[in-house]
Symmetry: C2
Subunit: 413 residues, 2 copies
């Protein structure tokens, strides 16, 4: 039995990128505004220099792109310098003029003999550049909790620059990314369009007997194929597809096993456009009618997310969304202990969350127009999990959803 032939097409238009910086889609002015805003925050935090290793933050400030973040690399912003500096691996340096606006004299690269060696480290070179540029006695903000600023990088920076003051910049650029520009919103809207195709393909094709890996393969294809007008990007997380009793384990991927009749499957997926994400989770039961307890569980989840979305608008606090959800749950005697969402947008593996605002008690961030969230109030029992989520943009009076698949438990007979 063969389902849903997918095809490789040659009749599609390509996107016009004539007015953008290199391979990115943002105009130079937008980068200049981002760097200016970053410097303003640096002044407020009394930082002379900012040392950025998070690939999303590097991309945000300069456009730099490429799968090179598995070796040390950075973008450095200094109050005394007009433009940022890029330092990375030699074979990745040719990517800088192609993806950024940086001038050649602000690009430094280390020899390949520094890579994965036990007697030297790329940070030896990077620290040397920082010293040459006159930063040896400055107050330097570092991303203490960035995946790509390892403990070794920190210790070596401390070792080579004893007169510098290293200070945690506390996700300075991540916070700066919280409110999206019109151009960023456009990309997330496009990601939403792709996401609808991805989830539709997944819901249409999941069936008893289909191997989980075959469905995951289809999902991965549709994510990148995109639409007739624009292609897709890789999401920062692989398809998460727990099925059966594994639905109580949200971050499992697919197996070789077939989906089974009478079982539930959670699909937490995303689509991305130029690294801007629209995540979406839906849950599907293979069998009609579903068991009574599942219908009841789904009713709580469905009513909960609608209650939570109903309070969204500029001016409320992040925790207000959680309160609305929690009160709905309480009516049915349920409690949820984990957070129910987070700020999303631009990111690289391993996470599409921005590590700033969380939708949970105590987060008093005031919502502003064009903040973007993934609201995902997952409910997990001992052997059962259910996720229905929504990515959206905050508006003056409510929200604009990215992705339009109905927020309900799907049932396939």
């Amino acid at each position: 039995m063969r389902l849903q032939p997918t095809t490789l097409r040659t009749d599609r238009k390509s996107t016009d990128t004539s007015k953008t910086v290199g391979l990115t889609v943002f105009p130079r002015e937008e980068f200049d505004a981002r760097v200016a805003a970053c410097k303003q925050r640096m002044r407020e935090m009394e930082l002379d220099v900012l040392f950025i290793t998070d690939p999303a933050n590097m991309h945000y400030l300069t456009g730099y792109d490429g799968w090179s973040f598995y070796v040390p690399q950075c973008v450095v912003v200094a109050l005394d310098e007009a433009e940022p500096i890029w330092i990375g691996r030699g074979i990745d340096a040719p990517g800088v003029p192609v993806t950024t606006y940086l001038k050649p004299e602000n690009v430094y690269s280390y020899l390949d003999s520094y890579v994965h060696k036990d007697d030297c480290h790329p940070m030896d070179y990077i620290a040397d550049v920082l010293i040459q540029r006159g930063f040896s006695d400055k107050t330097i903000g570092v991303e203490m909790d960035s995946f790509y600023f390892t403990a070794a990088c920190y210790k070596l920076m401390e070792y080579w620059m004893p007169d510098a003051t290293l200070r945690d910049c506390k996700f300075l650029v991540n916070w700066q990314r919280l409110i999206k520009s019109e151009k960023e919103i456009t990309l997330m809207r496009q990601a939403g369009e792709i996401m609808d195709r991805v989830m539709t393909a997944a819901l249409d094709n999941i069936a008893p007997g289909v191997r989980q890996c075959d469905l995951a393969a289809l999902i991965r294809q549709v994510q990148v194929e995109g639409t007739d007008e624009f292609g897709g990007d890789f999401p920062a997380i692989e398809p998460m597809l727990p099925s059966g009793v594994h639905t109580s384990i949200p971050h499992l991927y697919w197996t070789d096993q077939p989906f089974k009749a009478g079982e539930l499957t959670v699909m937490e997926l995303a689509a991305a456009r130029h690294h801007y994400h629209c995540p979406m989770a839906r849950t599907v039961f293979l069998g009609d009618p579903p068991p009574k307890h599942l219908n009841e569980f789904a009713k709580v989840a469905e009513e909960g997310i609608e209650a939570s979305l109903a309070v969204v608008k500029e001016g409320i606090q992040a925790e207000d969304m959680e309160t609305a959800f929690r009160e709905t749950l309480a009516k049915y005697g349920y409690v949820k202990a984990s957070r129910m969402g987070y700020s999303t947008g631009l990111n690289f593996p391993p996470d599409w969350g921005e590590h700033t605002v969380s939708i949970r008690p105590g987060d008093k961030t005031v919502l502003r127009e064009n903040m973007t969230f993934h609201m995902i109030p997952g409910l997990w029992g001992d052997d059962l999990g259910l996720e229905i989520s929504q990515t959206f943009r905050v508006t003056k009076n409510g929200y604009e959803p990215f992705g339009t698949i109905p927020r309900k438990l799907f049932v396939k007979s």
Copy 2:
């Protein structure tokens, strides 16, 4: 024009996993042997406790799996404890009994209120567990250069455990992974089978006018679809597909633009089976005949990799492979400055390399049977790059290739 319909199939068998631990494919005895070997190395390095955060190393020692490495988590091996300890996030803890052999009393999880907060950190909880288990004054090996042991994690461990001695374990478990078991070799061989399908699909479908994103989508599908007998896993790196002048930038991915006649495309891809990789790079020129200088460049690359593979066998040193390549290049007046390969096998994003042996001058690691490498002597000029690679296992008298696509420049008219 529609090419190569791909299909979602429901007629495939699933793999027998009845004799394995949870969702992994290794028997309990293999994990016991790995932990025993790890403890032996700990004794040699005079470490009482080993704190593991690299998801590949966590998986290697316990089988633990799931896309949960974007929050702090660890596996702890102590000389005084029979079995490892897992510490991670609450919503990920149900994955431990499903993917590992660990006993419940060795599993600890932190509340979601620790995640992405500015007034507390998961390491606060993790350090507390380590202290409770009696490790506060021990010599603890940490992975100083693991992506998932950030500078903040290190500083907090130091803060909470002032009487402990923290010492870089120098990729202890990575080095342990260098020689593969028969079962691991089987997985890499299967990855090689999938890789042949992936590269065949890519070479068959690349053509002028095809959008790069559509080819990338197909590649991503075939990677995970696998074969009729077994499914594929996600590789640790997304398809790298630089085309035209971008071939001089090895780590770029696809764009929305179409492939063009008269242009070169480098495809550095991989397939994976249960996180074990077979990477493969091939280069294709769209146009026949290719320009003379390209043919000459290709001849050097082709002759170079064959010369390098010809010296492979147990007993040589890693650098001997590079010498053979360099001498071939020198005949034609070329020089290559970057390393030409590395140990590969088990890994998670963002890298499929193992961060141990490199194929380059000065690496005197003596090759042993069942070490596995990705030999990738990429040649990059100012506006031209060419990659032809081979993943292989070292044998007594030579090598066993994983993936069988001819090692040559492909030309499509």
